[in-house]
């Protein structure tokens, strides 16, 4: 919340502005009373301020001629000893000639109900005269006078006033005037004292509901519920001024109003203590206990138990209790001068001043004609709270927009970072792949070309070598280079194409050696794990087998087979076979043994198995089995 000033204010300064705000509260009350008086004491028309009265409970104008006494109006019964709760007033009104325009009669304030009779005719009343008695606490009354009822000469106006308790009774001045003069004044007063109050009460009630909802939805904002609690009590109490014919029965209604009035300052104190964040538990417990006991007493004990009418006991307590939260606010303001605290304290002053006025009115210490004003002191406090809420809301909105914006930027930044790191990973993968491939090529060159070139060198240096020997060695080197190139061809995992490439290479040689090739291959599904390295090993094994046939077997037929075959453990796999009808060899043949060892080594590299089955004179069968990785 905002600070009033940057540095702490001195107590003097706070005392001064507190006094000023108190003075402001008094000024507001004075202004209201003045405004209300302007609507009560109309400047013009016929004001009747003298009457005779008769204590009588008669429903119709009393016929008795005796017992009437003179009084001035306004007349407050509580100033008269032994008054009853029902009084008849008789007013005389002398006119020269009957009025031509429509006239009306205006009663700005009566306690609590009135019926008006002119020349024996009932003009109207302010509601029920039976239980429950209509309560026109704040409602002015107006009656039209039928044309022709006012006669030349003396006219007799009889007004019956009834109140719930004898000392509540009041009749304020009575006005007679042409309707077009009287009625606007009445309407303005009606609006100010009645409609406006209804409006205030509804606003307070709706605000309380919204605050309850807010704190229910946001448990961290319980403070709003604490604010809504005294508001609720006040709304209940204020119903007193706008409900004309009370429900629940008069007794219960009055006690309910009294209890609400008492709880208002108690709950307000609880709210203020939480607002300033320092709770005096002892005071709170004591005030709640007292309010609880009084409430119980109000609802449990009969009317006769109380020395004074209960509302009058309770409103004194409420006024006293009301001082505490204002006192706490003042102390808090000295500790931490903040604008919010100051404004809240000012609205507290307003309530205290208005409450004091009403207390003085209720207890007959000042004229009751001007009526009660406490409900008018609440809108500033409510507006203040709405202002605080609005500010928080705006702040939260700005904050969340700010956060959203930052979040978006943050997300975009993270996104970029991720992309970068993905790019780096891809780069790394690419480099790894290149390195692996480079290492493989080096290995292949070393194993294949290197070996061939070294043995070629040996041949060339050996004087016994013939050109044919050297050409054979060269051809072998070229074959190996071709294998490397073929192994790098992208065959899309097609093992058959790989073998077909080998066939393309070797077929002319087989043909010139007079060997007939049988291509006994099955169409196989792709072999995804067939990378260049595997491809090269497979090609080398098969080429080795075919070259051996060319060199040693003296065969006329060669069958190359490719098919799917399960392994020993039933795993899926592929079998490549190379079968000739040549002379075969025996186990003891050392050259064949070395070739077999080479093939076994290569098969081991690629996770496969290989073997040579041969019997002298019955051909040779070389096989290579490769496992299929389960999909």
């Amino acid at each position: 919340m905002d600070r009033v000033a940057d540095d702490n204010w001195s107590p003097w300064r706070i005392g001064l502005i507190s006094l000023l705000s108190l003075a402001l509260a008094c000024l507001m009350l004075w202004g209201m009373i003045r405004f209300d008086q302007g609507l009560t004491w109309l400047d013009g028309g016929l004001m009747l301020n003298q009457a005779e009265y008769l204590d009588s409970d008669s429903r119709t104008p009393p016929t008795a001629e005796t017992g009437w006494r003179y009084t001035e109006i306004p007349d407050e019964w509580n100033r008269r000893p032994h008054a009853g709760n029902s009084v008849w007033y008789r007013l005389r009104l002398t006119v020269g000639s009957p009025p031509r325009r429509l006239w009306g009669i205006y009663l700005p304030a009566v306690q609590q109900n009135a019926s008006v009779w002119l020349n024996g005719e009932l003009l109207g009343d302010g509601g029920s005269f039976e239980r429950p008695l209509a309560r026109n606490w704040n409602r002015p009354l107006y009656f039209s006078i039928p044309r022709g009822l006012i006669e030349a000469g003396e006219n007799l106006l009889l007004i019956r006033i009834k109140s719930t308790a004898a000392n509540d009774g009041l009749i304020a001045p009575v006005f007679l005037a042409p309707a077009d003069f009287l009625y606007p004044g009445y309407q303005l007063k009606f609006f100010f004292r009645y409609t406006l109050l209804q409006f205030v009460i509804i606003t307070l009630a709706v605000s309380a509901l919204l605050l309850y909802a807010l704190s229910w939805l946001r448990p961290s904002d319980r403070l709003y519920a604490w604010y809504a609690l005294p508001l609720t009590a006040f709304v209940v109490y204020s119903l007193k001024y706008v409900v004309i014919e009370p429900p629940l029965g008069e007794l219960l209604w009055d006690r309910l109003m009294a209890a609400a009035l008492l709880w208002f300052p108690v709950l307000a104190a609880s709210f203020i203590q939480r607002f300033i964040g320092s709770i005096n538990r002892r005071i709170e417990r004591a005030s709640w206990t007292i309010a609880g006991i009084v409430t119980l007493a109000l609802f449990a004990l009969p009317d006769g138990f109380f020395p004074l009418p209960p509302p009058r006991i309770v409103d004194s307590m409420a006024l006293l209790f009301g001082l505490y939260p204002v006192y706490r606010l003042l102390r808090y303001l000295i500790e931490q001068p903040r604008r919010d605290t100051f404004l809240l304290m000012t609205s507290g002053f307003l309530m205290i001043v208005f409450g004091l006025h009403d207390w003085l009115v209720t207890h007959g210490l000042i004229s009751r004609v001007s009526g009660q004003f406490l409900p008018y002191s609440t809108p500033p406090g409510l507006l203040l709270f709405v202002y605080i809420l609005m500010r928080r809301f705006v702040h939260a909105m700005n904050e969340s927009e700010h956060l959203n914006r930052n979040l978006r930027l943050e997300v975009a930044r993270k996104h970029r970072e991720l992309e970068q790191s993905f790019e780096q990973m891809r780069d790394l993968e690419r480099r790894n792949a290149i390195n692996e491939e480079r290492a493989r090529l080096m290995r292949d060159m070393h194993d294949g070309m290197g070996g061939h070139l070294v043995s070629l060198l040996a041949r060339v240096e050996d004087e016994r070598s013939t050109n044919a020997d050297i050409a054979r060695e060269l051809r072998a080197a070229l074959d190996d280079l071709r294998l490397m190139i073929d192994s790098m061809e992208d065959v899309g995992g097609d093992l058959l194409t790989l073998l077909a490439m080998l066939r393309n290479r070797l077929e002319p040689r087989l043909r010139s050696a007079g060997i007939r090739l049988h291509w006994q291959v099955d169409d196989l599904p792709p072999f995804p794990e067939l990378n260049p390295e595997k491809a090269l090993h497979i090609l080398r094994i098969v080429q080795e087998a075919i070259t051996n046939v060319l060199k040693h077997a003296r065969a006329t037929e060669l069958r190359i087979g490719l098919k799917e075959q399960q392994g020993d453990q039933g795993e899926n796999g592929i079998l490549i076979t190379c079968e000739d009808n040549g002379q075969g060899f025996s186990r003891e043949d050392k050259t064949a043994g070395r070739g077999l060892l080479n093939m076994l080594r290569r098969a081991g590299f690629i996770g496969g198995r290989t073997g040579i089955d041969s019997t002298p004179g019955q051909g040779t069968r070389v096989w290579l089995w490769l496992p299929r990785v389960a999909p």
Partner: protein, 218 residues
Amino acid sequence: MAEDYYRVLLIEDEPSTLDRLCRAVEQHPQLAVSGRAETVHDGEQAIRAGGFHVLLSDLGFPDGSGIDLIRLAREQQPEAEIMVITVFADERHVLAAIEAGASGYLLKDGDSSYIGESILQLIHGGSPISAAIARHLLQRMRPAEPKPAEDAPHLTAREQQVLELVAKGFSYAEIADTLEISVNTVTSYIKQIYRKLSVNSRGEAVFEASQMGLLRPL
């Protein structure tokens, strides 16, 4: 044919390889060397001069690309057969040559009888094709059925069958057996496919040629 032998023009920048090829050609009774060149510049002149039935050309030259020579020969001497000379017959080189207009390839290290036979086979309509090249063609040339309007060259169903069998390593004779057609028909299918590829890839050829330029040191 007025004469009883075929004249061969040889363009190859390696003199010993060129000599070897010339010997192999001359050894064959039906073939004779009509000219030889060691650079693109000389090769162009020889092609423009004409007078050959078969052109054998390498791809990499110090002063240019063999692809340009093949394309020039296809334009200048449409009747001549063109073969590309290659060490490895790898798919990339051979396809680029075929797209430029060659209809066969020749392995540089083949012995003389292989070289002579291959040339004569080509003259008689038999284009060689490897499994790897067939596989590549199958991927590149979609069958005509689904969308005949596409720009890429299309294969007929029979051409597709032939290519598939080649890719599986079967020889022309085995394919002829399987499809119950003559070996000549099989070779004519292959030639047909080569021609489609060459006709349809004039634009691509330029691109391939530039790639070949980069690959020249091979």
